[in-house]
């Protein structure tokens, strides 16, 4: 095991560590279906090289061994990507990229706990793949905003997306190029403004 983080994992000020002055750590989830751009989004904002870790899921498989009365267990590995952003002297924001599959609900519980809200990345060409992710967001009572990750803003039809995803009128829908830091920051700003409205 390599316990010494490589130099590529250091931040601009040469350390992997959070500043001693930081008193608050906040968390926002970046969610969406497979390959929608979650890792790219996190990478465009993170001050550290995005880290990947894994969560072991032990879950009952579909069949039960009647002889023992004990469900067979299947262990699945799920990769989590996350990044960090020091926003003020005393506040860091963690961005966690979360896979949107129903079968990782245990993981969602872990991720959702303590999250301010979720940014839902959507590919306008694969809207139907977003449905199960919205179900999970609703299940965990997370507030969210939609960021349409498209390389071409011309494919971004807000009305169509609102109708297809059956969004509430006040759910923000913004365009986002996940490769671009400003664009990604703007999407998070839309989410946090929405959270402030809801907290009012």
């Amino acid at each position: 095991m390599d316990s010494k983080p490589s130099s590529s994992e250091t931040t601009a000020n040469g350390t992997i560590y959070v500043s001693d002055a930081v008193t608050t750590a906040a968390k926002i989830l970046v969610v969406g279906h497979f390959a929608v751009g979650k890792t790219t989004f996190i990478g465009s904002l993170s001050e550290i090289t995005p880290l990947r870790t894994e969560e072991k899921m032990t879950q009952a498989s579909l069949h039960v061994d009647d002889l023992r009365g004990v469900p067979d267990k299947v262990t699945t590995t799920v990769a989590l990507d996350f990044g960090r952003l020091t926003l003020t002297d005393e506040l860091v924001l963690y961005l966690f990229g979360t896979p949107g599959q129903q079968r990782f609900m245990q993981l969602w519980e872990d991720m959702a706990r303590g999250a301010l809200g979720a940014l839902l990345l959507v590919d306008p060409a694969r809207l139907e793949e977003t449905f199960p992710v919205i179900d999970l967001i609703d299940e965990y009572g997370l507030e969210y905003a939609i960021a349409v990750n498209s390389f071409d803003a011309r494919f971004f039809d807000e009305t169509e997306i609102r109708e297809a995803l059956d969004l509430l009128p006040d759910t923000p829908v913004v365009y986002c190029d996940a490769r671009d830091q400003r664009s990604s920051a703007n999407a998070l700003i839309a989410l946090v403004r929405h959270l402030l409205d809801r907290a009012a």
Binding site: S3, S19, T53, T58, Y94, G114, R182, L196
Partner: protein, 124 residues
């Protein structure tokens, strides 16, 4: 988790985690959230008999504050295993935790406004 004696098919990763944790149940996120910030307490001695993973955590966390998820990521440990080992060190008084991370239910306006203002500095 499968208990000892059960003939469940296991992967090598599974065995590895099982050995590191001594087969104990992994603590829930209630104890230590993924974004909880932790660091080694000052003037502590490495517990005798500490395994390689605990020694690696000791070395990493001696340098400053990191989130639970970052500790897992840097040491290539599954999050649940890292959390268990960190919880042990915390309960033994070896680890300090920054003030509790924000919880969704308590996400106060002040924190949200700070997050907002911080993000806005990125786009000017």
């Amino acid at each position: 988790m499968t208990g000892p004696g059960e003939e469940a098919p296991v992967t090598s990763d599974f065995v590895r985690s099982y050995v590191i944790t001594g087969g104990r149940r992994l603590p829930s996120a209630d104890d230590l959230a993924l974004h909880s910030l932790v660091t080694l307490a000052p003037d502590r001695e490495l517990p005798p008999g500490a395994g390689p993973e605990v020694r690696a955590i000791w070395e990493l966390c001696g340098g400053g504050f990191l989130s639970v998820a970052e500790v897992a990521g840097h040491l290539a440990l599954p999050v649940g295993v890292a959390r268990l080992l960190l919880t042990d060190l915390f309960e033994q008084g070896h680890l300090l935790r920054r003030s509790e991370p924000t919880r969704a239910q308590l996400a106060d306006r002040e924190t949200l406004e700070k997050v907002l203002h911080g993000l806005e500095t990125l786009i000017v």
